[in-house]
């Protein structure tokens, strides 16, 4: 296996190198997506299947689609470096030397690093029974360090507002006349693949309590289903969002905060779940989170305030 690991690691490095220095921007993006998949593979090898799933779904999948769509949306002459040439040769050399030194130092440090056995993580594993779920990562995300997760939902919401304020929708409001949408494959994709994705997403959310999966992976897959629908022209952007859509957007963060605040008088601490009710509360919150993540990611992709089914 060491050979496999070595080859995989080398591949990642080469892909990263190509991604950063590729002469053609398009190539750089494609390489980035491939690198994301390779990373997911390597993380699976590193006993982090949750993260492998997340990277594949969000890091490589959704982000990849978004990168490619953005590239396509750019005016032709802006797709290359003409207006933004790389730094001068001297700077490149200097940066090269600096980054080689940086890399060597980090490699040496990582090689020498000996994590403690009484790390916080060991504590987390030891007190898993109190956490309400069997999956350690979900326990950390939704219980031990639920505060981080809650704030992260805020990041997602703000990023969405930022993207909306830039007013550069990727999914135009009018009927999309994209080449390829009349392909016979499209209806198949839209009608069979999407429900499948929805199913997988919901399963992942629920599975997060026991094995690999969770709100983020599941939410990403659900959002991905939406993206597929947009790409198949079964959904399109809308200039305004209905109150329902906005409610779904903030559902996760809002339920999370209100639940947390409710625990202040009940349990004496923010987000301290009452014993016995831990699991149902966490599952409820997880589904809310997944819903909001899915809608947020979908809207981050379309770059519009809302989505609607196009009129036929």
């Amino acid at each position: 296996m060491i050979l496999f690991d070595g080859v995989l690691a080398l591949l990642i490095v080469v892909l990263a190198w190509r991604c950063v220095t590729a002469g053609d921007l398009y190539l750089g993006i494609v390489v980035f997506i491939v690198m994301g998949l390779m990373l997911a593979l390597s993380w699976a090898r590193l006993d982090a299947p949750d993260l492998a799933l997340a990277e594949a779904a969000i890091g490589a999948g959704l982000l990849g689609v978004l990168l490619l769509s953005t590239w396509r949306a750019l005016p032709g002459h802006r797709r290359q470096d003409r207006d933004h040439p790389p730094a001068r040769k001297a700077v490149r050399w200097l940066a090269g030397v600096a980054s080689v030194a940086f890399g060597l130092v980090m490699a040496a440090l990582l090689h020498a690093l000996q994590p403690d056995e009484d790390a916080a993580g060991a504590l987390a594993l030891g007190r898993l029974t109190e956490a309400g779920v069997e999956q350690p990562v979900t326990a950390v995300l939704l219980n031990f360090r639920s505060y981080d997760t809650l704030l992260e939902m805020g990041v997602l919401l703000m990023a969405l507002i930022g993207a909306l304020l830039a007013r550069t929708p990727l999914a135009p409001y009018g009927a999309a006349t994209d080449d390829g949408t009349d392909s016979p494959l499209i209806p198949v994709l839209a009608t069979t693949f999407t429900p499948l994705l929805l199913l997988v997403g919901a399963f992942l959310v629920w599975a997060g309590a026991y094995g690999p999966g969770g709100a983020f992976q599941g939410g990403a897959v659900l959002g991905g289903a939406g993206v597929v629908l947009v790409l198949c022209n079964r959904l399109q952007g809308a200039p305004e969002a209905g109150i329902l859509l906005r409610l779904l957007l903030v559902l996760g963060v809002k339920v999370f905060i209100l639940a947390g605040l409710l625990m202040l008088p009940l349990e004496g601490a923010f987000m301290a779940y009452p014993p016995g009710l831990t699991y149902p509360i966490m599952i409820a919150i997880e589904f809310c989170l997944a819903t909001s993540i899915a809608v947020s990611l979908l809207l981050l992709f379309t770059g519009t305030h809302g989505v609607r089914v196009p009129e036929r």
């Binding site: 440090l109 790390a119 219980n143 805020g154 990041v155 923010f270």
Partner: protein, 481 residues
């Protein structure tokens, strides 16, 4: 009840922002008022609680560190939250007019600003290295859309550059956090110190990554390149928030880490280097501010310079330097917000903010201009003002530690600040003999002029309130220096 206050200080504004986003424009008049008042109220509650009973700690989820995340309201966090409440409250008053019912994107402004307010408080209270990363990103990702509110066509380049630097800075910080966790097996600020100190080169590299990452976020020279365009281009209320609070959050973290987990690592030479960066920022920022043609860019470059003063704490690292640096943060926050709001009023009235064309402004905009001048007194570090108290403390610290070269920097910085402030006033005082200035806008109503004036007067008042505030801050954390 008291132990709940830190949670409320974070989530009252944060939740209010979320609700604002959901409810949209319908609630624009009253919801922001309610939310701002409530936030100021809980912030004051926290201040009085800490002043009366000392620091407050809250374990999120009831899990103690190292397993869980703690919120710690100590003196430093509390004065920053107080600053945020004061500046935020008055900027909110200004924004009620500037981003009121007349602004089509008012709902976005208030949602972002209220969430940013909560995020800032969360950042100040956080006692966990990774949670700090999350709050840093929250603050950044709220700040950048706010910059866009000036109209994406005008500010998108600045916002994009801001985003690039901010993202890279926080990832660099996160790299340091990763190494720290590898060394210490914990993320709590109070627990990671010994492992970092004993961590040899790994500890040093971890510390370097975190510090450099924060320097990028704090726009410290030479990482300042993203700041002027972003702060200069944003709407006035946003500029005030960004310059007074947002960049300061990163400097705050530098102070917090340096006097906390990194205290055992602080090396004399590195500390001198930090001081040198601060000195370079002071000189470079001031000279650039003097050379700018647009009023808001003058003020923005002034921020680059003023942040440098806080960095002078590191080489001196004595109690007076600590007090001086923090007090500088407070008085700069108040004064800079006043400057930006005043500049915003000029922009509203004239439709431009070209420094050379401010002729005759003193008659029509006398209140805003007076606010600009009064706040300028504090920026120059002249008495009586908060800026003077801070400068005095830093000056004393530099002479007491025998590092007289910082005294020279402090003195020259004050003179350079006088140069760029008076340059603006000079053009504004020039009489326009032939005709009144060609205006495009109305004279800003009192609700826009008063917050600037009040903030400016507060900057002066800070010259007299140092004793209670420094008592609240508490002395230099143990083990530093």
């Amino acid at each position: 009840m008291t132990e709940w206050v830190p949670v409320l200080v974070v989530f009252v504004p944060f939740l209010a922002g979320v609700v604002q986003f959901m409810a949209g424009r319908r609630v624009i008049a009253w919801w922001p008022v309610l939310a701002s008042v409530a936030t100021v109220a809980v912030s004051l509650w926290l201040t009085f609680a800490v002043a009366a009973g000392g620091g407050i700690e809250h374990f999120m989820g009831g899990w103690q560190p190292p397993l869980g995340i703690a919120l710690r309201a100590d003196g430093l966090a509390t004065v920053m939250i107080l600053l945020t409440a004061v500046v935020g409250g008055l900027v909110s008053v200004y924004a009620l007019e500037a981003h009121g019912t007349g602004d089509p994107r008012a709902s976005h402004f208030w949602a972002l600003w209220l969430m940013l307010w909560g995020s800032l408080n969360a950042l100040f209270l956080s006692a966990d290295l990774f949670n700090i990363y999350v709050t840093l990103e929250l603050v950044t990702l709220a700040a950048i859309p706010l910059v866009l509110l000036a109209g994406p066509e005008k500010t998108v380049t600045a916002a994009l550059r801001y985003l690039q630097f901010a993202l890279f800075g926080s990832l660099l910080y996160l790299a340091g956090v990763a190494l720290t966790y590898g060394l210490a097996g914990s993320l709590d600020l109070a627990l990671v110190g010994p492992a970092l100190t004993d961590g040899g080169i790994t500890g040093a590299v971890a510390a370097t990554c975190m510090v450099v990452g924060l320097l990028v976020k704090a726009a410290v020279f030479p990482f300042h390149v993203w700041l002027p365009a972003a702060h200069g281009g944003a709407p006035a209320a946003v500029s005030a928030i960004l310059s007074a609070l947002v960049v300061k959050a990163a400097v705050y973290l530098l102070l917090r880490l340096w006097t906390g987990p990194l205290a055992g690592l602080a090396d004399g030479l590195v500390a001198q280097l930090m001081g040198a960066l601060g000195a370079a920022a002071i000189l470079y920022g001031s000279i650039q501010a003097f050379r700018q043609e647009r009023l808001k860019l003058v003020v923005a470059y002034s921020t680059v310079a003023q942040l440098g003063y806080m960095l002078l704490f590191f080489p001196m690292a004595v109690a007076q330097a600590w007090e001086g640096a923090v007090y500088h943060g407070l008085s700069h926050g108040v004064a800079k917000a006043a400057l930006f709001l005043a500049a915003g009023n000029v922009l509203v009235y004239l439709g431009h903010d070209r420094v050379r064309d401010l002729k005759g402004l003193d008659r029509s905009l006398s209140v805003s201009l007076l606010a600009f001048g009064i706040a300028g007194v504090s920026i120059m570090g002249l008495p009586p003002s908060g800026g003077f108290i801070a400068k005095w403390l830093l000056l004393r610290a530099s002479l007491e530690t025998g590092q007289w070269w910082w005294a020279v920097v402090l003195i020259s910085g004050g003179l350079l600040a006088a140069a760029y402030i008076f340059r603006v006033l000079r053009y504004a005082f020039l009489q326009a003999p032939d005709r009144p200035p060609a205006t495009t806008g109305p004279i800003p109503p009192p609700i826009m002029a008063l917050p600037a004036t009040l903030l400016a007067l507060l900057a002066i008042a800070l010259g007299f309130t140092a004793a209670p505030l420094l008592a609240l801050l508490g002395g230099l954390p143990e083990g530093t220096g």
